[in-house]
Amino acid sequence: MAKLEQAIDNHAANLDEETREAVRLASKAKTEKRVNALWTDFDDPNALRKLASQVRQHALDNLPDYLEQAEAAFQKNGVQVHWAEDGDQANAIVLDIMRRRGASKVVKSKSMVSEETELVPFLEKHGMEAVETDLGEYVVQIDGDHPSHIVTPIIHKNRRQVGRSFEREGLGEYTEDPLELTRMARRHLRQKYLDADVGMTGANFVVAESGRIVLVTNEGNARFSMAATKTHIAMVGIEKIIPREQDVPLFLSLLGRSATGQPLTVYTQFIGGPKSASQEEGPEEMHLIFLDNGRSDILASNCKEILRCIRCGACMNVCPVYRQTSGHAYRSVYPGPVGAVLSPLLNKAGFPDLADLPKASSLCGACQEVCPVDIPIPDLLLRLRNKGKQEHAPKTSINTPGLSFWALAATQPAAWKTGLKLGHAMNVVPHALLDVNPSAKSWRSTRELPPFRGGDFRSWLKAHEKKGGAS
C-alpha cells in the first residue's frame, strides 16, 4: 500500500472494520428507505426536488427582504430577535439572555448551528448546565465526542459502547438492550427538562410570512424543551428562510422522506412566540438569534447553492466515500458531500486547513441525485478544487499528479501522438520500475494496468480506410 497522505483516506484506513461496516450498512439502509418512500408516494419525486430547489433559491436570491420581513413578523408575534455575525456573538447573546433571566440550566435540542458555535462548552465554561436531549447527541455529550452524522449523530457507535457510557454516568446498570438504554435516557433526561430554565433549539425552517419557526424531531425532545421551561431560545442560520407558510408542506414531505424515509417526522412544531396567556406551561419569552457565521460570504461566492441545504443527510447516506470513512474524517460539524462544500467555506480563514475535503470525492454525482433541493454538489466541489489551486492551498494537491505537462501535450496533436508512441515502452518496462512515479505506484497498489496500445486504433483506421471502409 502506498503511503496514505490524504487525511480522509488515512482516517478511513484506520477505522476499525466493525465501525466501518456499521456505518456503511446503516447508510445503505437509509438510502433504500428514502428511495422507497419517495417513489412509493409520488409519481415524479424529481419534480418535487426541482420545485423545492426553486423555492429555496428564490428565498436566497431575495434574502435581505425576507430577513426583514421575518424579523417584523416575529416581533409582531412577541419574539425578541437578535443578530449575530459569528459564533462568539451568538453564544454571548445566549449567555446574556440566561443571566438576565436568572437562568442556570438549559436543555438543548439537536441543532447543527449550535455545534458550529460550540455553544455547550461555552455555556459550561460560564458555569451554566447545558444538557443535550436528543438521545444520540446526549451520548455524544457524555462521551466528549462529536456527532458523525447530522441526523443520526452516533452512527459510529454500537449499543455496547452506549451501555458502558450510561453505566459510567450512573444512569443505571450496564445493559446493551437498546430498549432499556432508551428508557434509562428517558428517566434521566425527564428530570433535566423539569429542572431547566431555558429550552434551546435550532429551526428546520423559518417562515418569513408568518414569523414562525418549524421544528421537527422524532423523539419529542424539542417539544419537551418548550413545555417544561420558561424561556425559549432558537438559534438559526440566516439562510433557513422559507417565504410562505404554504411552502412548508412541500419541504416537510421531502425532509422526512429524504432523512429517514418518513412521510412526516413524528413531531412537527410550528412555533411563533411565547406561550399563550391561558397556557399553564411553556416559555414566557421567546428569543430568535439569526446567525451569519460566514453565510453572507458564501451567498456572495460561486458556491451559494449550498445554502439551499435543508440538512436531511441523504447525501452522506448515499456517498460511497462517507460510507467508508464515517463522519469524523471530515474534521468539521458537517460531514459528507454537503460538509465537503460547506465546512471549508463556513470559516474563511480556515479554508486552507479543509481544502482537502472537496478532493474526497470521486465526483460520482450520487449526492446531487438524492438532494431534496437539487444542489449541484459535484459542481461546487469542482469550484472549490479550482479555488484551492488558485489560492495555492497545499491540501488541494496532496497525492495528485500535476497536469500542466499533460495539458501541454493535449493541446498539441504532434506531441500527443509522440507520447502515444513512447507510451509503448511501458509494456516492456518491468512494472516495479514504474513505481518510481508515486501515482503509478498508488494505482498499482491494488490494481493492474492494461497493456498500453497507444495509437493502435489510429493505425487500424488508416489501414481500414485504405481498404475502402466496411466491406
Partner: protein, 249 residues
C-alpha cells in the same frame, strides 16, 4: 446537463484518450457499429483528450486550453459520437462549468449540443430501439456515474435487452461508484480500493458471463482490480457486444 440535439448520420467520432492509449479494440468496435448503421464517419486526427482530468483536479486554466483544442478539432455542425458517458458528460456539462465566465462559452455550448454518447446516439438520436444478431450469455451492465441525468444507461439497456440470447442480470447498488474518479483513485487509494471491491462484488454477484461498461474509465479501475484479484469474468464495452451480435446474424 445539456441534452444533445444535433441529428444525422454524418458524424465526427471522438475515440477518447483512454481508447487512444489502451483500448484500441473498443474504439474499433464503436467505429464498426457506427459504420454498420450507415454513418459517414470522420475521425479528426488532431483529437487528444476532452480535458476532464485537469478540470477535476481544479486546474481549470489547463482544462480550458484542452477544451478549446477539442472544440476546434471537432468544429462543424455534425453530431459528435463518443463511446464514453464520462467524456460526453465533460463536453456537455463539465466544460461549460469551466467556461462560465469566459467569452467563448457559446462555442463550448455548441459542442455540448452536438455531443452524444454512443448508445444514446443510436437510440435517442437515430431512433433505433432493437439490435440485430445474437449474443449468448448473461451480462452485468455497470451504470457509470457520469451517465446520471442522461438517457445513456437506459439506451444501453434498450439495445442490450433486445439482443437475442443476451440476458441482463441484476446489479446491486447500481447508484454506487466504482471508486475511479480519475486522480481520486491515486490520491485516495484506500477509499478507492474499498469502493472498487464492493463494485466487483456487485457486478459478479449473479455470476454473469460478461461484465459490460459504458465507460472504459470505470473499467480501467474495476477491471484492473478484477485482474489483481484473479476474477476471470471477461469484460466488454457495450460497443463490443453490439459488434459481436452483428457478427452472429
Amino acid at each position: 446537463m445539456i441534452q444533445p440535439t444535433a441529428k444525422g448520420k454524418r458524424i465526427k467520432f471522438m475515440m477518447t484518450c483512454l481508447c487512444d492509449a489502451f483500448y484500441a479494440d473498443v474504439a474499433q468496435a464503436s467505429y464498426e457499429v457506427l459504420e454498420h448503421l450507415g454513418c459517414e464517419i470522420e475521425v479528426p486526427a488532431g483529437q487528444t483528450c476532452c480535458g476532464q482530468p485537469a478540470l477535476n483536479s481544479g486546474e481549470w486554466e489547463s482544462a480550458r486550453k484542452v477544451v478549446r483544442h477539442t472544440v476546434k478539432t471537432f468544429g462543424g455542425e455534425e453530431p459528435v459520437v463518443i463511446p464514453s458517458g464520462s467524456c460526453a458528460a465533460m463536453t456537455r456539462h463539465g466544460a461549460i462549468l469551466g467556461f462560465e465566465s469566459e467569452p467563448d462559452l457559446d462555442e463550448v455550448e455548441g459542442l455540448a449540443r452536438r455531443s452524444w454518447e454512443l448508445c444514446e446516439y443510436i437510440v435517442q438520436g437515430l431512433g433505433i430501439d432493437s439490435w440485430p444478431g445474437r449474443f449468448d450469455g448473461k451480462v452485468a451492465l455497470h451504470r457509470s456515474c457520469h451517465t446520471r441525468g442522461t438517457k445513456v444507461y437506459e439506451s444501453a439497456v434498450t439495445l442490450l435487452s433486445s439482443i437475442e440470447g443476451l440476458e441482463l442480470v441484476e446489479v446491486g447498488e447500481l447508484e454506487q461508484c466504482c471508486g475511479f474518479g480519475g486522480t481520486f483513485s491515486v490520491s485516495f487509494p484506500y477509499v478507492s480500493k474499498k469502493m472498487g471491491q464492493l463494485k466487483v462484488e456487485h457486478l459478479t454477484e449473479k455470476r454473469p458471463n460478461y461484465v459490460a461498461s459504458l465507460d472504459m474509465a470505470c473499467m480501467l479501475h474495476f477491471g484492473g482490480m478484477m485482474d489483481r484479484q484473479g476474477v476471470k469474468t471477461p469484460r466488454l464495452h457495450v460497443s463490443q457486444i453490439l459488434k459481436k451480435a452483428l457478427e452472429n446474424r
